[in-house]
Structures are given as C-alpha cells and as structure tokens.
C-alpha cells in the first residue's frame, strides 16, 4: 500500500469514526419531520367496553338468537379467535373439559353466565342475563345487561360494565375500570381502581344510616391575624370544632378542620388536610399531601389528593343529584361510606377491614 493510499484509508477511517455516533441522528434528520400525530388519549376502558358491545351487537346477535333455541355454539371468528355462545339453560362448566384451568375463548350467553371458581378467562365475557364470577376466578373483562357479582377473591383485570348493579364479595379485586348504571357495592377488603356509578357503597352500611347531626353551628371563625391587621402568611390553618366558615380556605401548609364544622367554600392545602367527624363541606377539597376525613362527613364537591385519602366510616361524597369525584393515588375507605359519581384510585384503592382495628 502506497503512503497516499494509506492516508486515504486513514481519512476514510477518521470520517467513519466521526460519523458513527451520529448515524441515528442523521437517519432521523433525513426522514424529515414525522407527521403530527393527532393527540388522542389512550383508548379508555369505557370506549373499549362500548366497542365490545358494538361488536356483540354486530357479529353475535344472530348467534345468540340461534343459541337461545338450539343450544351452545362453538366456533371461531375471521381472526381465528374461538368463541362459545351459550343458550338460556346452558352452563359454561358443562362446555369445558374437566379440570380446565384456562379458557381462551370469548364467552357469550343468552341467559345467565356462571364462571366456575379458579378459572382464568383470557377473553371478554358477555351475558344478556346475570354474570356470576365464582371465588378465585380471574376474568379479563365482562359486560352484562343485568347484574354482575364478583365472588370472594375473584379478580377482574381490565374492565367490567353492567346495566344494573355490580357486587364484589370480600377480597375481590377490580383492576381497571368498573361501571354500573345503578350501583356498585364493594365488600370489605376489596381492591379497586376506577369506579363509576350513581351510587357506590363501600362495605356494610351502618344500621342507622347516618348519625344525628349536631345542631346548626353558628360560631364565627376569625382566621389568625398579624398585629398590623394583615392576614398571616397562611402556612397552617386550624378551624376549631363547631364553626361555620363561608369562604375558600387556601393554605400553603396543613389545614385542620375541627369536628362538626360546616365549610361553605373550597379547601386547598399544599400539605395535608385533616377533617374531623361530622363535617359538612359544600365545595371541593384539594391537597398535594394526604387527606384524612373523619367519620360521618359529607362533601359536595370533588375531593382530590396527589397522595392518599383516608375516608372515615359513614362519610358521603356527592349526592344522587350532584355526583362528584373522589380521586387520589391511594384510597383507603372505611366501611359504610357512600360515593356518588366516580371514585378513582390511581395506584391502589381498598375498602378497609376495621373489625380488628376497632
């Protein structure tokens, strides 16, 4: 190799070294601007449930009609996905080989649908009647035109939607989205993420649905002031028990509301909010830190925390006429609470079992 050739080879090598780390960059650059993707949210579970309902109506209405008269039908759709269509008096357990642990077929029932215990269903379930999910079963998603009952320690992984009511037995888990047109009732020790119903009941309601409220409180609350007449810096604020406040309370620290207060306005704290027993709040409550709500409270507006909400027994969020939202990273709800509207636990939601604690 002559020196010139060697030099040329070296120059080529140098250019290669220079360009090597920049190759992905150059490739991205040469491709030009990607087309602006219209920003759509991830398909929500609600949309997926609607999609499934639409698919059932479009593709399986005829088969359901047939099955009602002639008994179970097995088959596969154009994508090769297997399905089972059950008639009114058929049982799923009869259609499965003995000791089946996993079911990979879509199941549609013209009547009631009973999912045997311990079964894992990888595909959606649909029933025109009631769906009963027995203990320890695991289902992906379920849609019913009547009630749905989730047994003890049974789990739903994606979504569940019913046109009537949804009952979850002790230890059941609702991952994802659960919606009922009438009511959702969760037993103690159930876990949930996102609930949506006009009335959501947590645990067993107390015998007396609501304790007698204290007589209307009239004491006037003056916030602490500095000597120069200016309001304080608003770091922490405590409202003593039995006072009525008609204002928004915005603090940069902790906010404490004493027992039996009535607040007409919004609450906002950068740290935590602690609300005593039998407090009525006609407004929203927002906090970056945890919110602890005592027993027997009633809150009209949305309650939102970036951290954790503890809801005392017998509390009520929203009303039938004015549904509201309860949302937090972690929701720990005592038995006997009622929420109207939506309840959203971004990481974990649980109905507490307070038998041992008390």
């Amino acid at each position: 190799m002559t020196p010139t050739q060697a030099l040329l080879v070296f120059i080529a090598l140098s250019i290669l070294c220079l360009a090597l780390p920049l190759l992905p960059l150059l490739r991205t650059l040469s491709r030009g601007t990607p087309r602006p993707t219209p920003f759509e949210r991830q398909p929500e579970p609600a949309a997926r449930a609607e999609e499934f309902r639409h698919m059932v109506r479009e593709q399986f209405a005829h088969l359901l009609h047939l099955a009602r008269d002639s008994g179970p039908i097995r088959g596969a759709n154009e994508n090769g996905r297997p399905f089972i269509v059950l008639g009114v008096s058929n049982h799923l357990a009869e259609q499965l080989p003995p000791r089946t642990r996993r079911l990979r077929s879509l199941v549609l029932a013209a009547g009631h649908l009973d999912i045997p215990g311990e079964l894992i269903c990888d595909r959606e379930l649909f029933a025109e009647g009631r769906i009963n999910v027995a203990h320890n079963a695991l289902i992906k998603s379920a849609l019913s035109q009547r009630d749905i009952a989730i047994g003890r320690r049974a789990r739903v992984t994606r979504w569940v939607r019913t046109e009537r009511r949804l009952d979850v037995a002790e230890g059941g888990q609702l991952k994802g989205w659960a919606s009922a047109a009438q009511e959702i009732a969760l037993a103690r020790r159930t876990q949930f993420e996102q609930l949506l119903a006009p009335r959501i009941v947590f645990g067993r309601l107390p015998e007396d649905a609501r304790r007698p409220r204290q007589p209307d409180t009239v004491a006037r609350f003056d916030p602490p002031q500095r000597s120069n007449g200016q309001p304080g810096n608003g770091r922490n604020l405590s409202v003593p028990a039995g006072h009525t406040v008609k204002a928004d309370l915005l603090v940069s620290g902790k906010l404490i509301i004493g027992d039996g207060c009535r607040i007409i306005g919004d609450l906002r704290a950068d740290k935590s909010i602690i609300i005593g027993q039998d407090v009525v709040i006609e407004g929203a409550a927002y906090a970056d830190g945890p919110i602890s709500i005592g027993a027997g409270c009633k809150m009209n507006g949305p309650v939102f925390s970036r951290s954790e909400i503890q809801l005392g027994s017998g509390s009520e969020i929203g009303s039938m006429n004015h549904p509201s939202t309860l949302a937090a990273d972690t929701l720990l709800i005592s038995e006997g609470c009622i929420a109207h509207g939506s309840v959203w636990a971004m990481r974990r939601g649980e109905v507490l079992d307070e038998r041992n604690a008390s």
């Binding site: 960059l25 650059l29 601007t33 810096n233 939102f304 990273d329």
Partner: protein, 499 residues
C-alpha cells in the same frame, strides 16, 4: 474528582518534562531512532514516573521545560501563576455552580418521574365552570373559516351549554363573516364575535384584553394552533383548573408541520420536554421552564398593563415575579405590544438567554439577603435569580477554560470545555444537560426526535449569540446603564428586536 485530576495532571506534566527531554535530546537529530526499536524499548520498559521525584529537581526541570517550550522570561511565571490561579478559581466556582445546576435538574427530573401521576386525570363528575374558547385569527382567511367550520362538528367531552366561543375576525374580510355567522347559528347565544381592526390590534396579546372583557366564562381557553383539534381534550384541560391553586394549564402542544426545518424541530423538542415539567404544580418550576413560564409571565404582563400597581401573586411567587418584572416581563411586554403575529413565526420565543435581562436581574440579588422577606420567598427568588444568571455562568466557565488553555493548563481547560459542552443541550438556550431534555421528552411521549439532541448545541449557541446581539444593540442605543424601576428602558431593546 476535579482535584484528583488536576493532581494527576501536575504529575504527568512533571514527568513529561523529565522523560521527553531525556529521550529526545539523547538521540542525534540527524539520525532519528528507528521506530521499531523505540517501540520495543517502550514495550519492554515504559517510563515509570512516580510522584516521589525528589522535590529539588522538579521545579528546575519543569521551569526549564516551561521556558524552553514557551520561551517566557523568568520573571513571567509569577504573574502567570497569579493569573492561572485566578482563572482556576473562576473555573472552579463556575464549575461548581454548573454542577449544582446539573444536580438540580436531576432532582427535578427524578421528582417528575416519581410524582407523575400514573395517568392523566379527566374527571367525570365535577362542577364544571363555564369556559370561553378564544379562537385567534391566524393564517389565511380560508384557513380561518375552515377552522371555524370545523368547530361545528367538533366533539366536546364537556357540557355543551357551558362552552362559549369568542372568534376573532377582521370585519373587512368577506370570507370569514359568513363562517362566524354559521358558528353563531350552530351555537345560538354562545358565540361572542370579536371584530378586530386591521393593524396592531390583530395580535393575540392585544386581543386577550378584549376577549377577557367579551367572554362570560370563568376560564379562558386559547386555541394556539390551527391544527385539527383532538377528540377529547377539554375536560382533561379544565380538570386541573378545578384545583383552586391552579391558575393556568398548559395543554399538550400539538406539533405543527415544520417541513424539516431543524430549528423548529429542535424547539419543538425543547417545548415538549418543558411541557412535562411545567405540568408540575409548584410555581417555581412553572416559572423556570419554557413555554409555560412564558405564558404565565405573559399573563402577568397583560394584567400589569391593565393595573400596573397591583400585586398579583401571594408571597412566594411575589419575589419571583418582582424579579422578572424588570426583566423577562418587560421583555414580554415589548413583544406583546410590538410583535405582529405574522412576522414572527416563533412568537412565543423563549427569553431565557437574553443576557441583558440576566444582567438586569443581577441587581435584584440584594433582595435575597433581605431578612424581612420570608425564607421560602427568598429561596424561590434565589432559584429564579440563579436561573437568570446561568447563561452568564456558562459563558464565564467557557471563557475561563479558553484562558486556562492559553495560560498553560490544558487539562483544566478541557474539563471546563467538557462541562460547558455537557450543559448545552437545551435548544431554547438555557444551559441544560442532555439527560434532563431526553428524560423529559421521553416522558412526554416523544421518541425518535430525541436523537436530534446533539444538534441542540448549535441551537443553544445560536440563542447565545442572539442574546449578545441584543445586548450590544441595547448598549449602543443607551450608552448609560439602564436604571432599575424604569420599565420603558427595558422595553426598548425588545422593540428593536421586534423590528
């Protein structure tokens, strides 16, 4: 680590002088040592130098090599040593500050990662406020009327009776008037047209006053792009506003067609990264990053146009806004008053790397030590002040690196340059490390565009030079130092920049 490196370098310099002179001067220059033989010698017994060199020999030898290499007279080293130690001190200080900045960025990124909600919240049930959607007049009349017509068929995941529209239009334009009429027909009683005369008033900023006066809603939504509207965005955007502590929400930026313009792509990358961090709740991060900060300031600026004496923010943010009032905010006021929508495609231009502003902010530093100001406010103000001074710190670090190179400390110079290079990846011009841009953009859902990050250096330097230009032009216009508390002076360079 820095100390260790400089020590090792000192050792290597000392031995370099020792070994080379011994090797090279021993051979006859006319008959150079054969290469192979030299390598053999090297491989068998590489020169082994340890710091345990007798101290008596070291100064004379290194002094000799220095004088032989640079040829400086013997009296020079004392002056040069002083200069070098001064430069080293400057470099160490700026490196420390830049290191602190990187640490702060890292903590911010980690905070976003840890505290980011698992998914964005769009509440189902809430006391939804009445909102007014301001549709600014952008682009050609055809595009405007098309955008207005698209609103008819647009799906809003929001109580429709609580949406009001405020379309801006030029009454002289025959094509848009029918479109506005169609919109009024489609939403009877909920459209409040905002006829804008041709000229200065057609800018979005000027229209904001009129829009605020015209709108009924308790929230004002400004559509920023003429891109097709996404399907479900309104509820998600208004949900954070239900929080009494939230005053403004930056919805996700809809990327415009940039037609492969690299600057626009890089800016987009920076904006997208900023959007995520801006979504954090604290006022400080809102003020310290990109578009969201600028919008917050712009809003403040619009307010202070109306009521200049009003203090808008409570304690903590007060000092930040005070700090920015003389600087960024007046800059923005200038832009708002002077810019027309058409001549500046990059209308919301990041004012971060305006050195004139940074210099002006320096004068606010005394406030940070004022004991009458609450500690939290001082901390926030300090952070804002630090942020304003960062471009200057970066420049000082680079200049000290270059000076150290010429003074004879190449390793320190290299470290200074490396640190500057490592903090020059924000296309908007604020010294910023690559990881914060990449991590934030990644969390905001961008993937392939992050690969353009190395090119951000060019955009960064571009903005830097831009800032210098503005500073020089402002100095030429006003030879005297601008006096604090006089907003009109602060406005002057912006008018220049706008024209």
């Amino acid at each position: 680590m820095l100390l260790a490196s400089s020590q090792s370098f000192a050792a290597s310099r000392a031995e370099a002088g020792l070994s080379l002179d011994a090797q090279l001067h021993a051979t006859d220059p006319d008959a150079p040592l054969p290469l192979v033989q030299f390598d053999l010698i090297e491989d068998d017994a590489p020169l082994r130098i340890s710091p345990a060199i007798p101290p008596a020999e070291l100064p004379t030898l290194s002094g000799d090599t220095n004088t032989s290499a640079t040829g400086r007279p013997s009296s020079a080293p004392t002056l040069r040593d002083h200069l070098e130690s001064l430069l080293r001190a400057l470099w160490l200080l700026t490196a420390l500050l830049l290191g602190l900045h990187m640490l702060r960025e890292w903590v911010r990124v980690m905070r976003v990662r840890v505290r980011r909600p698992a998914r964005s919240i769009a509440m189902e049930h809430a006391p939804w406020p009445t909102v007014s959607i301001l549709i600014p007049a952008r682009g050609s009349p055809g595009a405007q009327s098309r955008q207005l017509d698209e609103l008819h068929s647009c799906f809003f995941d929001y109580p429709v009776e609580r949406i009001h529209f405020v379309p801006m239009f030029d009454p002289a334009d025959a094509e848009i008037i029918p479109a506005v009429a169609r919109l009024t027909q489609a939403f009877p009683g909920r459209v409040h047209p905002l006829p804008m005369m041709d000229g200065r008033n057609t800018t979005l900023a000027a229209a904001l006053h009129a829009a605020v006066a015209t709108s009924i809603g308790s929230a004002l939504i400004v559509l920023d792009q003429d891109a097709p509207l996404p399907q479900a965005w309104l509820r998600q955007s208004v949900t954070p506003l239900l929080d009494p502590a939230t005053g403004a929400v930056l919805s996700r930026a809809i990327p415009a067609q940039t037609e492969s313009a690299l600057s626009a792509r890089l800016n987009l990358l920076g904006d997208q990264a900023d959007t995520l961090i801006a979504a954090q709740s604290d006022a400080l991060s809102l003020l310290l990053c990109g578009k969201a900060r600028i919008r917050a300031l712009r809003r403040q600026a619009v307010k202070s146009l109306e009521t200049p004496d009003l203090q808008h923010a409570p304690d903590g943010a007060g000092i930040v806004l005070g700090l920015t009032r003389m600087g960024w905010q007046s800059q923005l006021l200038g832009e708002i008053v002077q810019c027309t929508a058409d001549d500046a495609p990059d209308l919301i231009r990041s004012p971060r790397l305006r050195i004139s502003i940074a210099l002006r902010s320096m004068r606010m530093a005394s406030l940070l030590l004022n004991p009458r100001i609450p500690l939290g406010a001082r901390l926030q103000g300090g952070a804002a002040f630090f942020s304003a001074a960062l471009p200057l710190i970066w420049l000082a670090s680079l200049l000290s690196g270059i000076a150290l190179y010429f003074v004879g400390a190449p390793l320190s110079a290299g470290l200074a340059m490396a640190l500057c290079a490592a903090t020059s990846f924000d296309p908007h011009g604020q010294p910023s490390p690559a990881f914060s841009m990449a991590a934030a953009a990644r969390m905001a859902g961008i993937r392939t565009e992050i690969r353009l990050l190395p090119l951000s250096c060019f955009s960064f330097i571009d903005r830097l030079i831009d800032g210098l230009h503005i500073l020089l032009r402002a100095r030429r216009e006003h030879p005297g130092p601008p006096t604090a508390g006089h907003p009109s002076i602060a406005l002057q360079p912006d008018r220049e920049a706008a024209t």
